[in-house]
Symmetry: C2
Subunit: 96 residues, 2 copies
C-alpha cells in the first residue's frame, strides 16, 4: 500500500463541500485552480503555454502548483492570463 496524500486530495476535492472550504481557505489555492482552468479552456498544455510565454514548462508547473510557496508578481499572472485569452481584473472588496 502506497502513501495516499494525492489520493486523499483527489477525493477531497471531488467533494463539492470540501472543495468550497478548500477554496475559501486560502485564496492562493483558488488562484492555482483558476490558472489551470483557463489554460485548459484554451486547450493548451503547460509546454505549449510555456512556449507562448517564452519560458519553460517547469516554470508553468511551479506557477500552477498548489504546493508552490511562491507569491507571483501581478505581471506574471497578467501575462499568463493574456496568453490563454483572458484578462486579469482586480477587485478590492470591503471586509464584512
Amino acid at each position: 500500500m502506497r502513501p495516499s496524500l494525492k489520493d486523499f486530495k483527489k477525493k477531497a476535492l471531488a467533494n463539492p463541500e470540501v472543495e468550497k472550504e478548500y477554496l475559501d481557505l486560502a485564496p492562493a489555492y483558488a488562484l492555482r485552480k483558476q490558472l489551470i482552468e483557463i489554460r485548459k479552456n484554451a486547450g493548451l498544455t503547460q509546454e505549449e503555454l510555456a512556449e507562448i510565454l517564452h519560458t519553460k514548462k517547469s516554470n508553468i508547473s511551479r506557477l500552477e502548483n498548489v504546493n508552490s510557496k511562491i507569491s507571483p508578481t501581478l505581471s506574471t499572472i497578467e501575462e499568463y492570463a493574456k496568453a490563454v485569452g483572458y484578462k486579469l481584473q482586480l477587485q478590492f472588496v470591503p471586509q464584512h
Copy 2:
C-alpha cells in the same frame, strides 16, 4: 515658470474622460489609484499603514506611485488590502 508635468497630470486626471482613458490604458495605473483610494478610505497615512505592515513609508509610496516600474507580488497587494480593511479578489475575464 516651473516644469508642469505634475500640473498636467493633475489637470488631466481631473477630466473624467481623460481619467477613463488613463485607467484603460494601463491596468497598473488603475491599481495604484485603487490602492490609494482604499488607504484613504481607511483614514490612514502612508506612514501609519507602513507601521501596520511593519515596513517604511517610502516603500508604501513606491507601491502606490504611478511612476513606479515595479510589478508587485500578489501577497504584497493582499497584505496591503487586508491592512486597510479590504480583501483582494481576482477575476479572469475572457477577452472580447
